[in-house]
């Protein structure tokens, strides 16, 4: 591949990163909007209905005015799928994503949220050491997915290294996490769960679970969702039967002596978008 074509492809990855962050910040995916609409229809508590009505009006306003849904525009977690045929070197792919995040920060605009962890100095452009997190896997197409993650819900997420004998207690660990979070993560939430793997893999699986469509759930996920919604925490912790919109679980094999369970909480603004880049 010629140097010029190589540069064009690198630029296309930057632009795809910019575009999917922009889309995610302004417009929720159809399955999330449908879940919020369904919650509004089924809620009987007047306070909860009012909160969901505000959320629906907010979704309409953000789309109409092309502005971010929430002032916490988050940290952009990026997922890349890369085909075997892609000529871009990994270093160039990563640099291209960084450029796309900087571009989105300026153009959407995004709030600069990335700070050095101890000194708390803000980088000003939503990039820094290890930020944005970029997860690369092989796939048939070159795609960029952005999951802008806000802090309010990230801060109440939890990981437990359960005993192998406690597999029956996994649902209680998940429900208890939502109980402890109360109204702080801006419910109704989406609950991403990683079961198994290692300490770090469980957390990655929990976040990846937030990329799954929420219009389908298996029986295990649905039972946990019902238990969460029976608590009555409701939208914003003001009461009601909609505390969570969905529970999504991803699993991996784990060591015979351990049982990691990670719960990644996502606020109602379950923002995600994907762009394909032609190679």
């Amino acid at each position: 591949m010629h140097a010029r074509e190589y540069q064009i492809l690198r630029e296309a990855v930057s632009e795809a990163t910019h575009a999917c962050i922009h889309e995610a910040e302004v417009c929720l995916p159809p399955d999330v909007k449908a879940a919020i609409d369904a919650a509004y229809e089924s809620e009987s508590d007047p306070v909860a209905r009012g909160e969901l009505a505000n959320i629906r009006a907010n979704i309409r306003e953000a789309e109409r005015l092309d502005i971010p849904l929430c002032q916490d525009t988050g940290i952009a977690v990026i997922y890349l799928t890369v085909p075997h045929s892609c000529p871009l070197h990994e270093r160039d792919l990563i640099d291209a994503v960084y450029d796309g995040v900087r571009r989105a920060t300026h153009s959407v605009p995004l709030r600069p949220n990335a700070v050095e962890p101890v000194l708390r100095q803000n980088s000003g452009d939503n990039t820094g050491v290890g930020i944005p997190p970029i997860h690369i896997s092989e796939g048939p197409d070159l795609t960029v997915t952005a999951l802008p993650k806000g802090a309010g819900s990230e801060n109440v997420s939890r990981i437990g290294m359960l005993l192998p004998s406690q597999s029956g207690e996994i649902p209680a660990f998940i429900v208890e996490t939502v109980l402890m979070a109360g109204g702080r993560p801006c419910p109704p939430v989406v609950v991403g769960v990683g079961i198994g793997g290692t300490f770090d893999l469980a957390a990655s699986l929990a976040k990846e679970a937030l990329l799954l469509p929420i219009d389908t759930m298996d029986e295990y996920e649905r039972e946990i969702l019902n238990a969460i919604n029976s608590l009555g925490i409701g939208p914003m912790g003001l009461g009601g039967s909609t505390t969570a919109l969905a529970v999504k679980v991803k699993k991996a094999h784990c060591h015979t002596a351990s049982l990691p369970v990670a719960v990644n909480i996502q606020c109602w603004a379950c923002r995600r978008a994907t762009r394909k880049v032609s190679v």
Binding site: G50, N58, L65, P68, C70, D72, P109, L179, S230
Partner: protein, 182 residues
């Protein structure tokens, strides 16, 4: 119920869970502005005034996004405002007992839906600023609001919707867990 600033005794009849549409002037304030007001005094007339826990996104003198921030961070920084005549706090997530006690017979806490930054901005017009040196998120922005849709979270009679819901959720969780384990 519709209310308009400056607020008076009409807010004393509000009860936790009531819906309210607020119009008039509100002042944004987060951690830094509270600390500065404690030290230097309140830069506006606090009688009947409204404080909004919010760090907005402002672009060219226009409010782009202005959702509420977590009020509990201001728990230890709030009572002096109520003592000075502030009648209403707006934020998300509720506040501690120290604050709800100080509201008794004097003021209310209203909840605005978390994350609804675009909706908030559509009800607002920027009219001024105090402490701009604190930066965009921490300055006190003076905002004119029209029919901002809010819910009474803590009323002036000690009613606290957040702690009521939280206590009930804890009770239901224990009952569910017992049922699962039996």
């Amino acid at each position: 119920m519709k209310i308009r600033t400056p607020l008076g005794d009409e807010i004393l009849t509000l009860r936790a869970g009531d819906s309210v549409l607020l119009s008039g002037t509100i002042y944004t304030a987060r951690d830094e502005a509270h600390l500065k007001m404690m030290k230097d005094g309140i830069p506006f007339d606090p009688e009947g005034a409204v404080i909004y826990h919010c760090g907005p996104v402002i672009q060219e003198n226009r409010i782009v996004a202005a959702g509420p921030t977590t009020s509990a961070r201001m728990n230890r920084l709030t009572v002096f405002l109520i003592d000075a005549g502030i009648r209403c706090l707006i934020g998300k997530g509720g506040m501690g007992k120290e604050v709800s006690d100080s509201l008794r017979g004097r003021a209310v806490y209203l909840a605005f839906t978390g994350g609804c930054a675009a909706l908030a901005a559509s009800h607002m017009k920027l009219t001024g600023v105090f402490y701009p040196e604190l930066g965009m998120a921490e300055a006190i922005w003076v905002i004119e609001v029209t029919d901002l849709p809010l819910v009474v979270g803590i009323d002036a009679d000690g009613g606290d919707l957040f702690s009521r819901v939280d206590a009930e959720a804890r009770r239901r969780y224990l009952a569910w867990k017992q049922g699962v384990e039996v």
